[in-house]
Amino acid sequence: MPTLLALDASSTACSCALIRNRQIVQRFEIAPREHTRLLLPMIDEVLAEVGVSLTQLDAVVYGHGPGSFTGLRIAAGIAQGLAYGADLPLIGVSTLEALALAAHRKWHARHVIAALDARMEEIYVGAYHCHDGALSVALDPRVLPPSRLRLPDTDRDIEWLGIGSGWQLLSNIPVDVQAALPQTLPDELPAAEDLVRLAATSWERGARGSAPHEVIPVYLRDEVAWRKA
C-alpha cells in the first residue's frame, strides 16, 4: 500500500489528506478565497500527524478537475512544486470520481452521477458504477447545460444517486433523469480523502503517476476566449 499525499482546491472547500498503511488523515475546510493561505499549513499538519516527511511519500496527488479554474491551478501549482522538488511522481485524480466514491462510501450508492456547477448555466458531469470501493465509468466527464443531460445508456431500471453542487440546478434537468434519481446530495464537496483513496487503488493496480509538469488540470471547458469578429 503506497504512502500518498493529496490536495484539493477545486471548490469552495480545500483539503489535504495523507494515506499510509491504509490509514487516512485529513484536513478539510470550507473557506472560499482562503485556499492559498490554508493549504501549505494543512500539508505540514498531516505530515506531522502521521510522522512522515515528503521524501517518504511515493507520490503526490491532486484533484485535477473539473472545478474552479483558479482552484485547480492552486492545487496543481503546489502539487507540481512539491512533487518536482521532492523528485516524486504526480497523480491527477478526477474531482467527479472523488464525489462518486464519497457517495459509495458514505451512502452505499452503487450508481452515481456526480455533477458540479460549471457556471454559465452548465454543469460538469460524469456517471460511475461503484463496487467494493472501485469505480467504473458509465458516462465520461463532460460539460453541458443541465437540460441536455441524458442517463448513461445502461439498464433502464437502475436507480442513480446524484452528488455535487450541479444538483442545485435540478429543476433544469429532464424529467426522465429526475425520475431515475430518487436522491441527490447537492451540498457535498470533493475531498482529498477520496482522491487519496482512488489514487491508492490505482497504485495497487500498477499506475505510478507521471512527471509533475505533465499532470495539468482537466478543465473540461476549453472555450474560454472569443476571437474578435
Partner: protein, 342 residues
C-alpha cells in the same frame, strides 16, 4: 546564495538562476505572444493555463544550462504582484510547493522592483541613489530610489500607460498585435516635420503623465487623413513618427524635471518601452547636457523576465527576508515596499 527567479505576472513565463557571488547563471523565457495574438490582447485565463504547462520545463532548462541540480538552490523568488491574479497564482503556488519540498526560503517579489533593479544585472550598473522611469504596457512611473526598498513615487500616468498607448495606436494603424514595437518600426520611415502632436501635461509643473489625450489626437488625425483621402503608407508612417516623438519628448521632459528636482545624476529606464531605440538615443543626448546618465537593462530584460525577479529576490533573501504565507498581490503599490529588515 543561488536564487531561482520565477516570473508569471502576465503573458511571459520567465525563469532564471542568479548567484550573489557569480552573477546571472542562466535565464529562460517562454512568451505567449502568439497565443494571445488572435484575440488582440492578453486573455487572462489562457495566460494562466499556459504558465501551468510551461513553468517546470523552464525550471529544468535553466538548471540544465547552469549545470546544477535543484538541490543546489538556496532560495526561490517569485513575482507576487502586481499583475493578473490567476497568472501570479501559478508562479506563487509552484514556488511555495518547491521551496517546501527543498526546505529552502521563498520570497514574493514586487514585479516593478524587479524592473527597476534590472539594470543592476549589466556590467555598468548604476549606484544608489537614482531616479527610475518605469515605462511599460502597465505602468508609467517616476520613482526616486534611495536604496533597496526605499522608494518614493514622484509621478505616474493618470490614465493610460505609455506602452498601452503604443499598443492602442498600433490598433488604430491596423498593425499586428502586440503593436508597440511595430509602431516604433513604422516610425523609422516616418517624417517628424509633417505632424506635431501635443506633449501632454508638460506645460504645467509636476511629474504626472497622461497619454489618453494623445491617443485621441492620433485617432482624430487619422480620421482627417481618411476624410481627405490622404491616408497612404507614408501618412501612416508619419502618424506613427509624430506619436512616437510626442511620447518620447514627454517622457524626457519629465525625466529631466525629476532629475533636477531630486538632484540625482543617474536615471534608470526599465520596462518594455525602455527598449525603444528613439527614446534611448534622445534621452542619452538630453541627459548628457544635464551632466546626468541613463542606465538601461539589456534588450531582453526590458520586458518581463525571470532574471530581474531572481536578482531583486536575492538582494532581499540574502538580508534574511522571506515569505511565510502564500498570497499573491494583484494590486500592490510600489511605495508600500520597505528595505529588508524594516
Amino acid at each position: 546564495m543561488r536564487v531561482l527567479g520565477i516570473e508569471t505576472s502576465c503573458d511571459e513565463t520567465g525563469v532564471a538562476l542568479y548567484d550573489t557571488d557569480a552573477g546571472l547563471l542562466a535565464d529562460a523565457l517562454y512568451s505567449q505572444v502568439a497565443l494571445h495574438a488572435e484575440f488582440g490582447g492578453v486573455v487572462p485565463e489562457l495566460a494562466s493555463r499556459d504558465h501551468t504547462r510551461k513553468l517546470l520545463p523552464l525550471v529544468d532548462q535553466v538548471l540544465a544550462d547552469a549545470q546544477l541540480a535543484k538541490q543546489d538552490l538556496d532560495a526561490i523568488a517569485y513575482t507576487a504582484g502586481p499583475g493578473l491574479v490567476g497568472a501570479l497564482m501559478v508562479g506563487a503556488c509552484t514556488a511555495h510547493g518547491m521551496a517546501r519540498a527543498l526546505d529552502i526560503p521563498v520570497l514574493g517579489v514586487h514585479h516593478m522592483e524587479g524592473h527597476l533593479l534590472a539594470p543592476m544585472l549589466e556590467e555598468t550598473a548604476p549606484a544608489f541613489p537614482f531616479v527610475a522611469l518605469l515605462v511599460s504596457g502597465g505602468h508609467t512611473q517616476l520613482v526616486d530610489v534611495r536604496g533597496l526598498g526605499d522608494y518614493r513615487l514622484l509621478g505616474e500616468s493618470v490614465d493610460d500607460a505609455a506602452g498601452e498607448a503604443f499598443d492602442k495606436v498600433a490598433k488604430m494603424l491596423e498593425l499586428p498585435y502586440p503593436g508597440g514595437p511595430q509602431v516604433a518600426a513604422l516610425a523609422e520611415r516616418g517624417r517628424s516635420e509633417r505632424f506635431r502632436f501635443p506633449r501632454p501635461m508638460t506645460d504645467r509643473p509636476g511629474l504626472d503623465f497622461s497619454f489618453s489625450g494623445l491617443k485621441t489626437h492620433t485617432l482624430t488625425t487619422l480620421r482627417q487623413l481618411h476624410e481627405q483621402d490622404a491616408f497612404d503608407d507614408q501618412a501612416q508612417a508619419d502618424v506613427a513618427r509624430a506619436f512616437e516623438d510626442a511620447v518620447v519628448d514627454t517622457l524626457i521632459i519629465k525625466c529631466r524635471r525629476a532629475l533636477k528636482e531630486s538632484g540625482r545624476t543617474r536615471l534608470v529606464v526599465a520596462g518594455g518601452v525602455s527598449a525603444n531605440r528613439r527614446l534611448r538615443e534622445t534621452l542619452d543626448i538630453a541627459l548628457t547636457k544635464l551632466g546626468a546618465r541613463a542606465f538601461y537593462p539589456r534588450g531582453r530584460f526590458c520586458t518581463d523576465n525571470g532574471a530581474m525577479i531572481a536578482y531583486a529576490g536575492a538582494q532581499r533573501l540574502i538580508a534574511g527576508q522571506h515569505s511565510q504565507t502564500l498570497q499573491p498581490r494583484p494590486r500592490w503599490p510600489l511605495a508600500e515596499l520597505t528595505p529588508p529588515g524594516c
